[in-house]
Structures are given as C-alpha cells and as structure tokens.
C-alpha cells in the first residue's frame, strides 16, 4: 500500500462522502448555535463586568477568567459525564453546545470589553451631555462603533468555536470528525479523515482570509 492509496483513496472517500456530509451538517449546526449563544452570553457578561455593582463585577470577572483557562475537553467531559450524577442529563448536542457556549461567551465578553474600552471617553460624554441614558448611549453610540472594531476578533473566535466542535466527538456526537473516524474504521483506511480535513479547510480558510482583509481595512481607516 502506498501513501496515495492509504490517505487519498478516492474510492473510500467517495463511499464515505455521504457520512461526512451528515457530520458536516451537525458540525455547522453546533458551531452556529454555539457562536450565537456565545455572542449573547458574551455581551451580557461584558455589560455585567463593566457596568454592574462591584460584587457582580468580581463574579463576572472570575467566570471569564476561569472559562478562558479551562481546557474545553475537560469542560465537555464534566458537562456530559459528571453532571448526570447531580441529575442533569444533557444530550450530546446540548452538552457540546453548553460547553462551547460557556467558553465562547467568556472570550466574547473580553472581545466586547476591548471594543468598548477603545471608544474615546468623549463619545460617552457627548452622549451624556445630550441627555441620553446609559442604555441609549450603549445602543445608539458606543456599540455600533465597537462592533465594527471587534468583527475581526469575533470572527477569529468563531473559527475557533467551529474547530472546537470536533471535540464533541468524545461525547459520542456524530459530528464531522466522528463520522470521519467511523468511516475510517469501517473502511480500514484513513482517507475519510483527509476528506474531513479538506471540508474543515473549505469552510474555515475563507473565514481566516476574511479576517485578514477586515483587519487590513480597519487599520487603513486608522492611518
């Protein structure tokens, strides 16, 4: 068996392709759901971290720091295998989404915070001087400016979330990677893994390039 037949076996690839597509669909669903939930959680955490009463600020900060430090795989195993002991039994999809969202929310909160803190103080003062309340200031003045700034780092985070969905295969969720390893076992040939890698690349490489372009454009605006 040569390298080509082992890793790039077209016949095996073709046979496993329907399985991979099913996995891809689940990967995208999990990725999109976790990214969206992470955005909502992150914005909430960010507001609590910046504008709530002191004790809540401290708790939020602890949450953010802990969930940025904990390896996702460990968190996933805790959610899926440990929570049932306290009566919380989540499906593989719900476990994976919970773990991904908790971590993505922590990162997203920090990204939003950097975006808000980058807005000059004069913008807050101008809004206050016009009689806008805190909520109106955020919604109409600060966040629209922050969001443009944080699109590149948010996209980066989204790429990470999609890649991390692969970890869901350890809780028996039939995502792209899990389907590929199963197809690999069935065919006794690792070509499906290469197929999965190609699919990940096809989806994520354009996003990586998009981030670079956005960053260049934002930097040009600054100069």
């Amino acid at each position: 068996m040569d390298l080509f037949e082992t890793f790039f076996n077209l016949e095996v690839l073709a046979r496993s392709f329907p399985m991979l597509l099913k996995g891809l669909w689940l990967t995208l669903e999990l990725g999109a759901a976790s990214i969206l939930a992470g955005l909502v959680l992150g914005l909430g955490l960010c507001m609590m971290r910046l504008y709530s009463v002191r004790p809540v600020q401290i708790l939020t900060r602890i949450y953010i720091d802990v969930f940025r430090s904990i390896p996702l795989l460990v968190l996933l195993i805790i959610v899926y295998y440990a929570l049932p002991f306290v009566g919380v039994r989540l499906s593989p999809f719900a476990s994976a989404m919970t773990a991904l969202t908790m971590v993505s929310g922590a990162y997203t909160a920090e990204i939003f915070r950097s975006g808000i803190e980058a807005i000059p103080k004069g913008q807050f003062e101008a809004a206050a001087a016009l009689g806008l309340g805190h909520r109106q200031t955020m919604v109409d003045v600060i966040l629209p400016q922050s969001i443009r700034m944080v699109i590149p780092p948010l996209t980066n985070n989204s790429i990470n979330v999609v890649k991390d969905t692969a970890l869901a295969s350890v809780v028996a969720m039939p995502d792209l990677l899990k389907q590929a390893t199963q197809a690999q076992a069935l065919a006794a040939n690792p070509s499906p893994l290469i197929g999965a890698a190609a699919i990940y690349l096809a989806f994520l490489l354009p996003l990586v390039l998009l981030v670079s372009r956005l960053e260049r454009r934002l930097n040009r605006g600054k100069a």
Binding site: P120, A129, G131, G133, V141, Q145
Partner: protein, 245 residues
C-alpha cells in the same frame, strides 16, 4: 437672588489635588459669560460640573433653573436642557451629520423622524452647512465639525449652552467661522458659559468675563472694565501675558 445657574461653594478634588476651591457663581438667564484663565486654573472643570460630567463633593450645590444637579433620574432632564460643545467636537463618527443632530431629539424628546430631520436641516442651514447633511464627520474640516457639534447641541433646544474651549483644537483659519456662529447664538437670548482663550471674542460678546486661577474665581466684571481696568494683580499679569504678544 439666585441666578438661572446657581453655583454654591463648588469644591472638586482629583484625589488629593484640590481643583476647585469653593466657587460661588450666579449666572442670569440669557447672560453670556466667558471664563478665562491659565491652563490648569479649573475653568473647564467648572463648566463640566454644571452638567455633572464631573462629580463634585456633597457640600457643594449647583442648580439650573431651580433644579439641583444631582445624580439620578433628574440628571438626564438637566442635561437635556444644558447643551455642551467640546474642544474635541466628539461627533459620532458612525452617523452622518444629519443623524448626529437627529439622535438626541429622537431618543430623548421622542421627536418623529421627519420632524427631527427637518429640524436638523434647518440647524445646518443656520450654521452654514446645509449641503453637508449626508456626509460623515470624518469628511469635514475641524471648523465644520465644530459647527455641526453646535447644531447638535441646539437640536435639543437647550436653555443653556456650555462651550469648553470650542476653538482650541482648530487650525487658526477655522477659528473665525466657529466664533461667528457663537456670536449669532449670543444674540438669541440663550444662556451661554464659554471657556475660551479668545480674548477678542470675550471682549465683544460677553456680558461678563470671569477670571479663574488656582481653582478660584479671582475676578468677575463686564468686559470693558475687565480688559481696561482689572482690579486684581493676578488678572493684570494674565492679561499682560496673553494680550502683549
């Protein structure tokens, strides 16, 4: 009799630094007051206290039209009546010129979109920028941006306008266009408090000139008396330094 703006024993600390040392000031409705003095004298801090962009200690009291300027629900109400123009313009860069002016009337006063747009265009015409409504602030010169900022403040139909060194960040050739707009405003009967280094403007437009130094009001007089016969030595030294160049 308390003034339209009444400032009693205004004390302000930055940590241990005593920035304002017990200012008492009464400003009448419709009065145009120019505040002058060396940098670090506390004049910007003073007017930033009037709409409470700066906090001040509890022993102090500021009233605008009888309403105490305290944190809480009343503050937004006071701020809606007190317009402010900043040294660095502080226009909202993601909004067009027209949208900058429309935002506060729409959100704070609940003005309809059509009415706010019509008002914005009227104000832009008044500051000589009728053709710039669709532009973004970054496409305007400094002088134009500051005139938009004035229009934005006027859109709330404020009773009081605070100007915090409105021409200090401008290239010299643009100072005149902003001062002209302010001169017109002074005729309209709106109460104005202007922190400025433009002595010519203070002399021509002010009803009263206030000289501050070291966090205190040193002298307060009508412009003629202030510029031709200052009573205090510190005022004389300051005027000597700024006018003899």
């Amino acid at each position: 009799m308390p003034g339209y703006i009444s400032i009693r024993n205004l004390q302000k600390y930055y940590g241990h630094y005593h920035a304002l040392r017990g200012i008492d000031l009464e400003i009448a409705r419709g009065e145009v007051v120019c505040v002058v003095g060396p940098s670090g004298s506390g004049k910007s801090t003073l007017i930033r206290c009037i709409n409470r962009l700066e906090d001040f200690s509890t022993e102090s009291a500021i009233h605008v039209d009888g309403v105490p300027v305290l944190p809480g629900a009343n503050l937004a109400k006071v701020r809606a009546e007190v317009g402010m123009v900043f040294q660095s313009f502080n226009l909202f860069p993601h909004l067009t010129v027209r949208q900058n002016i429309m935002l506060a009337p729409r959100r704070v006063r609940g003005t309809t979109k059509a009415a706010a747009a019509a008002q914005a265009d009227q104000l832009l015409a008044r500051v000589g920028l009728a053709s710039q409504a669709e532009k973004y602030p970054s496409g305007l010169s400094g002088g134009q941006q500051q005139r938009v900022a004035i229009a934005r403040a006027l859109a709330m139909e404020p009773q009081v306008l605070l100007f915090d060194e409105p021409t200090s960040a401008l290239d010299p050739e643009m100072v005149g266009e902003v001062l002209d707009v302010m001169r017109d405003l002074a005729q309209t009967g709106v109460t104005m408090v202007v922190v400025t280094h433009e002595m010519g403007f203070a002399r021509q437009v002010a009803d009263r000139v206030i000289f501050m130094d070291g966090g205190e009001v040193i002298e307060s007089a009508p412009p003629d008396a202030f510029f031709s016969a200052p009573r205090e030595t510190r005022t004389r030294n300051f005027l000597h330094a700024v006018l003899d160049h």
